[in-house]
């Protein structure tokens, strides 16, 4: 039986969940060390740090929402609900990307 909104079977998502996870682990370590633990104080307003956080937010949202999608794949079997939750995850991703973007990109201006 095939369920709706499963696309290509998830091969790309499976691979990119691993790739994004590796990059997130590195970025998170730097993010915690600089922004939260204050081991090294940096100016978040410089272009390099804006790009850093832009990449962080994009990969993080992908990783989180793809993770939530795995929950839906495993536990939700009602076709209309699966499609709806798929749509919800896209909306959440876009809204949170915009919130993240307008929060850190105008820094220092």
């Amino acid at each position: 039986m095939t369920y709706p909104a499963t696309g290509n079977g998830g091969a790309f998502n499976w691979l990119f969940q691993r790739i994004s996870g590796i990059v997130i682990a590195v970025i998170l370590f730097i993010h915690l060390g600089t922004v939260h633990f204050g081991i090294s104080i940096v100016d978040l307003g410089t272009p390099a740090w804006k790009v850093f956080h832009l990449v962080f937010v994009i990969l993080l949202l992908y990783h989180i929402l793809n993770g939530f999608w795995l929950f839906i794949e495993d536990y939700v079997h009602t076709p209309w609900l699966r499609v709806s939750l798929f749509g919800v995850s896209w909306v959440v991703g876009i809204v949170f990307f915009i919130m993240g973007f307008v929060t850190f990109v105008p820094f220092g201006s």
């Binding site: 998170l28 633990f37 989180i64 993770g67």
Partner: protein, 106 residues
């Protein structure tokens, strides 16, 4: 659905639970920082997210999820399937070291 409490299945389940918790935390973190710049009415949310107890749990969950993720990579792309149970405990030992270091830095 039935869960079997063996090392691999338990690690998988913990990966899900910590992933869900950390995922929700980070979404709220983005929301909190957005509000700090553009509104300021979600002070309570920020205080909750910054609470010491929450930070300690987040640290533990993040370390678990990251190191079990590394273990999954070794299982998927390396020869980890042959020693994944031993690898789990190696990762937990490394995680404990990170956790203690994190507690000191907090």
């Amino acid at each position: 659905m039935r869960y079997r409490w063996q090392t691999g299945a338990t690690a998988w389940l913990l990966h899900r639970l910590t992933g869900a918790a950390v995922g929700i935390y980070l979404l709220l973190h983005i929301l909190g920082q957005f509000d700090m710049k553009y509104g300021g009415s979600l002070e309570g949310l920020r205080n909750f997210l910054n609470a010491k107890g929450i930070a300690v749990v987040l640290l533990a969950f993040l370390i678990y999820h990251t190191l079990n993720g590394v273990r999954e990579l070794i299982v998927d792309f390396g020869q980890g399937a042959l020693y994944h149970k031993k690898l789990f405990w190696v990762m937990m030992a490394i995680g404990l070291a990170f956790f203690i270091a994190g507690l000191i830095a907090l």
